[in-house]
């Protein structure tokens, strides 16, 4: 360990130079994603902390407190690369490529002591492997964070409840309905029913790509919950294909009113709330009157 630290402290510039050159020449450096100056900066920051950890005799366990600053640097680098779109292999190669430069130095230093050379190589190899795996772990974690955040954003984005007319709400559903989304849709819809005092809600499923038994069940749950609150639901936007699927699956939509288009549903809703639509004799515009 201390041998490695000694070599690093005397040969740091040479190691850095060789390491950066190796990274540049290898395919793992994506010129379009990262500049060479940035690679050099990251490499030198890592080497500095790496040498400090080695010479402070921090032990071989990279989870220990002596390696905290090295881990911090690696966290930073991996996260940065994960967000930029590097693959896990490319991210881990950052550490693994150091072996080339470091082992060359070790070979020159212990050229006449093969046993010592083997020991030192083994030590260095173990630590670098552990660090390399650590970068992959951080990479994975930051990717998962991104995915979780996007899921949350999708949930928020895709479930608006629109007030079409006084007492008439519309819920245009887009994308696949799973249980967690149904929950959000249901909560939003029920809350809006309370807020607006609406007696009718139109659930439009034009944007739902497929309707299977589970989706149908989720829809029926939403309709039932709205009914318990005293609001009736109309399901609209049922495409011919989906109508066939529903019947073939044997799904019973019960007493729920279903309409082909949102317009049809809206017309029914207006009539139910006591409005009627008439066309002016002169023009083609629709006017609603009580």
């Amino acid at each position: 360990m201390t041998q490695l630290a000694n070599i690093l402290s005397t040969q740091e510039p040479a190691v850095l130079e060789e390491w950066v050159r190796y990274q540049r020449d290898s395919k793992s450096l994506r010129g379009n994603l990262i500049k060479e100056a940035e690679v050099r900066d990251q490499s030198s920051r890592f080497l500095e902390q790496f040498r400090a950890a080695l010479s402070s005799a921090a032990g071989e366990n990279i989870e220990g407190p002596g390696w905290a600053s090295v881990r911090a640097v690696l966290n930073d680098i991996s996260r940065n690369r994960a967000l930029k779109g590097f693959t896990p292999t490319e991210t881990a190669s950052f550490i693994f490529s150091l072996k080339h430069a470091l082992f060359a130095q070790l070979r020159t230093a212990f050229a006449d002591q093969p046993k010592l050379l083997a020991d030192e190589l083994w030590n260095a190899d173990r630590i670098l492997d552990a660090l390399g795996l650590y970068t992959t772990e951080v990479y994975q974690k930051s990717r998962e964070e991104v995915i979780a955040r996007q899921q949350q954003e999708l949930l928020e984005l895709s479930t608006p409840v629109v007030e079409l007319w006084e007492g008439i709400l519309a819920v245009p559903l887009i994308g696949t309905l799973d249980s967690s989304r149904t929950q959000v849709v249901m909560e939003n819809l029920l809350q809006r029913i309370v807020d607006t005092g609406a007696a009718l809600a139109i659930i439009d499923i034009t944007g739902v790509p497929t309707v299977d038994t589970l989706v149908a069940q989720h829809l029926l749950k939403t309709v039932s919950a709205a009914r318990l609150m005293g609001a009736d639901c109309i399901i609209s936007g049922i495409r011919p294909q989906i109508a066939q699927t529903i019947v073939h699956l044997g799904v019973d939509l019960g007493e729920v009113i279903t309409k082909a288009t949102l317009g049809d549903a809206f017309r029914v809703a207006l009539r139910r709330t006591g409005f009627r639509t008439v066309r002016d004799s002169g023009g083609s515009s629709n006017a609603a009157v009580r």
């Binding site: 309370v194 005092g197 749950k221 009914r227 609150m229 005293g230 609001a231």
Partner: protein, 128 residues
Amino acid sequence: MERIPILKLRDFLLVSIQIDMHDRLAMTLQDDLTAEIVKQRAKAVLIDISALDLVDSFIGRMISNIAAITRVLDAETVVVGMRPAVAITLVELGLTMPGVRTALNVDRGIELLEAAIARRDAQDEAAE
């Protein structure tokens, strides 16, 4: 012993549940309400549960039962003011209360009941 008051309002009976229902209270309410419907010759029962934020399957079934009993006694039932969380819980429990009328608030509930009673009277007259 605590009881839930049953108010007579013209032809209706108004039951407002303001406290957390426990099982015995629900049973007492069922007894009192049926007795009162017969005594007052009520045409409809309005159950306000807007203050209820906790419902289990027993209470859910109780409400369904009360509705079924009042129907047998020739009266209409409407449940008003159910909170979103309660509605979701009942649906998850599979208690969708078919046959129970629901409304958003007491005003709407009374409108609904008046319409239902008028419809029934018209039917009776037509039958005669």
